[in-house]
Amino acid sequence: MSRPHDTRPLSPHLMHYKFPLTAMLSIGHRACGIVNSAAIVLLVIVVASAAGTPEGYGFAAALVDSWFGKLVLFGFTLTLYYHLCNGVRHLFWDVGRGLEVAMAMKSAYVCLAAALALSVITWIVAAAA
């Protein structure tokens, strides 16, 4: 708690402090977790409408099949795979492995590359199917 007449900046000052990559990935893990919650809600909407009438499913499918829907789906593959890869990174940390700064930086890059690669491969499979 800062005192009323204390005008010195807090450290780290959030407007000036440059977040290291590992910090960005950490907050990104939570942000993607929230986005993934929206993704599974969409999944239930699609599955529930497939259990209903063709008309109802057609409405849900048209939303998902639009260019905006495809963009959202591509975003969901990125957030799902990112959260998955970073989650595996967390599981290694949980058993005490890879906690050194150099290793954490290395696994950060591996995690980002793996998430991007898995997304691209998934969409190549989708385009080929």
């Binding site: 499918a61 898995l118 998934t122």
Partner: protein, 127 residues
């Protein structure tokens, strides 16, 4: 061994809730289960020849897909509830709002998960 707790703390009864690492452990178990389930879901949806009504229903009605989808929905909603609970507890100030938000996320997740599982089973059994 002598009880090391003070008489006041025993009277207040606010000791350990005996849950300890329960939340942590459930989150990790569901995370491990979701690794194959997410990979399965993404790649099998990507491999579908079409997203039309009949193709999607045919896909969902196969026993393997039904089982994997029910597992995915159940585990994913539980994992999401645990994660959202942690986020709410970290960022929502005020005891009342925080408790209401956790209750809301829990109920919404439970309802959506049951709707999802019921829909899969309806397609699988009722055709």
């Amino acid at each position: 061994m002598r009880n090391l707790r003070t008489p006041l703390s025993e009277v207040k009864g606010l000791g350990s809730a005996k849950e300890g690492t329960g939340h942590f452990w459930s989150q990790r178990l569901t995370a491990i289960a979701l690794v194959p389930l997410v990979l399965w879901l993404c790649f099998s949806v990507a491999a579908l020849p079409g997203m039309d009504y009949l193709s999607v229903r045919e896909w969902l009605s196969s026993p393997f897909t039904s089982i994997m989808m029910v597992l995915f929905i159940a585990v994913a909603f539980y994992h999401a509830r645990l994660g959202l609970q942690s986020i709410i507890e970290d960022y929502v100030g005020g005891h009342g709002g925080r408790t209401l938000a956790v209750i809301g996320v829990t109920f919404a997740g439970a309802v959506l998960a049951v709707v999802g599982v019921f829909s899969v089973l309806r397609i699988a059994f009722a055709g």
